[in-house]
Symmetry: none
Subunit: 199 residues, 4 copies
């Protein structure tokens, strides 16, 4: 549903989120002040507190929302009936495609973990674990069915995630390679890494 007319508050909150996201990604949570966020959107620092109780809530929100959107997007796209090979390709393509679209969110979700208070940290870690488990299950299934040669699926999961997420650190929409081409390259490399049998 579209946002109700007159619901200015939610719009402001969104502007704050957006500004914070961009600033946190660029300079880091600790180095960005509430004043800076406010300035970015023509607001006094104090006004932000009408929308977010603390700076920490703002950070937590950005990370939780990102992780939940990611999980939802993957849930919407995943097809658990696919065999491991196809499932892995789907995951790789999804991960790259989704992550390059929200580089800032990805970046802060990795970089600012240590600035989360204990409880918030656990919450995010649990969400991340759930997402990475999607890949873990695929690799395990492939190993079980002997279509992949992964002697240690847990290590393989982390290796693949690291490799994939690395894309966000250099991808540029106007870069040398199209997104499609990049996906293809990574599908190729990861297929090789997990020893995917040709058929």
């Amino acid at each position: 549903m579209a946002r109700k007319v007159g619901s200015i508050g939610a719009e402001t909150a969104d502007k704050v989120r957006l500004a914070a996201l961009s600033l946190f990604a660029r300079y880091g949570y600790a180095a960005v002040s509430m004043r800076q966020i406010g300035r970015e959107i023509g607001l006094q620092a104090g006004a932000i507190y009408n929308h977010f109780p603390t700076k920490q809530h703002l950070l937590r929100g950005l990370m939780v929302e990102h992780m939940e959107r990611l999980l939802n997007a993957w849930d919407a796209e995943r097809d658990d009936s696919l065999p491991p090979r196809e499932a892995l390709v789907a995951f790789v393509r999804f991960h790259i495609r989704y992550h390059v679209k929200c580089g800032d969110e990805v970046f802060i979700s990795y970089m600012e973990l240590r600035n989360l208070e204990e409880e918030n940290f656990s919450e995010i870690e649990e969400l991340r674990r759930r997402y990475e488990q999607s890949l873990g299950r695929i690799l395990e299934a492939g190993a079980r069915e002997k279509v992949f040669t992964v002697s240690d699926p847990r290590v393989a999961t982390m290796a693949v995630i690291a490799m994939l997420t690395g894309v966000t650190s250099w991808y540029r929409p106007d870069g040398r390679l199209s997104l499609e081409k990049i996906e293809e390259l990574y599908v190729g490399m990861i297929s090789g890494a997990v020893g995917m049998k040709e058929n």
Copy 2:
């Protein structure tokens, strides 16, 4: 008290570096104060300035020294006469072995880049580029000689580096897997990723 017997400047500077390294890695450069660093080693914050002109110099120093040690270590170990396959295996083993030994340095060298001032950033980036080029050259040579199947060596370089460096984020000396085993696993995955021909 003016000076503790036996405690000389270089030792203090080292203690500062060590404390800063650990704190920066744990909480982030921006979130760590000079007081905190001092407290860690029983020093007033102001005394740190006898050894480092600014907090930024301290950070730059940690990163430059790490990168230079890394480059020197690799220069000492590399053997440019090795054929691509053996060279890649050597690089993978070296990278993992070296990086897990200095997780904090690696971590801040990636995480705190944005907290470097322009000039220092360029300096570190150049050092990193030189290191990563070592891998790049191996992959290019392998591609040229058709012993690897990498359709885009530049992307492959970044993918491999990302995968490898990811190890530092979960490796524990007392973990489930020995370092030797981990190296072996990554040699396997990366060989697959670059389509290394069996012979």
Copy 3:
């Protein structure tokens, strides 16, 4: 506590200016801290920054405002149609009367010049030059018309200004001499110094 009822920004800024003026005059700009200024008026040092961006701005403001008030006051009182003798008397009386009323401003405007940053210094110097030129013109006119005997009007200008401004360093409202009497004494001495012809 957030805001005291009835206390608005402009009032606070004025209180800060007043406190700073008095403290700078008594102890010198460099020797007065923002905390000291705040303490004087029951404010945290940080709160001063809601009204003045830096300590230097605060100083510049005090000096610029003083000089502009002085120039305006003289512009309101001067009468360019007066012949040199009467004009000089008017200037002397004005200068003394105006300056003893704002001893602190006068004091810091002379004493703190070296604590002004380059640009601010030039600005103040230009204002001072304009004011002193008023006297210079009178002396030059008098010399031209041969009603004064000043062989070097530029030196005479500086001599007269120095003599006049010296009053602020010892004048006390409850002192031995009335302001009227002091003006009279200086009119006499300065008339003599410039060799004013009796008629």
Copy 4:
């Protein structure tokens, strides 16, 4: 007597005094640090404490020594047998000649009074009072003998001193006017100011 060979200490103390004098005059006592003084002469700040117990002593020393040298110089030159007119001319010439030679000393002796601790302040004030009294006595004698027309010798004393000392603020050795010419101009103006009878 010439300084003994090997008396390095006194030479260092002199270098410190010289550096401090120049820096205090340029930037003000409060704005100059012991490190800055040391740096100027290739010394660590701590070493200064081998020669002066505190920064305050250093300042006091500079001012006391200046005032005593001034008094001694005047004592050597004064001739109490001169009649008031000649005595005034002698004083004027002496004051200008002496003061332009030590602009820094004069400057800090006026500017840094407020940075002196109570006791040191009184000491300097007393020395200054003694010097200015020299002029006061001349003016009083001249008034008594009716060779000057000064209705208030105390005010006249301050006026003349202010006028004379002002010279140091603009005099440049390579300026438009020779020192001799400047002395002459001031003798003229001051003679007029005190209503000196032609004979």
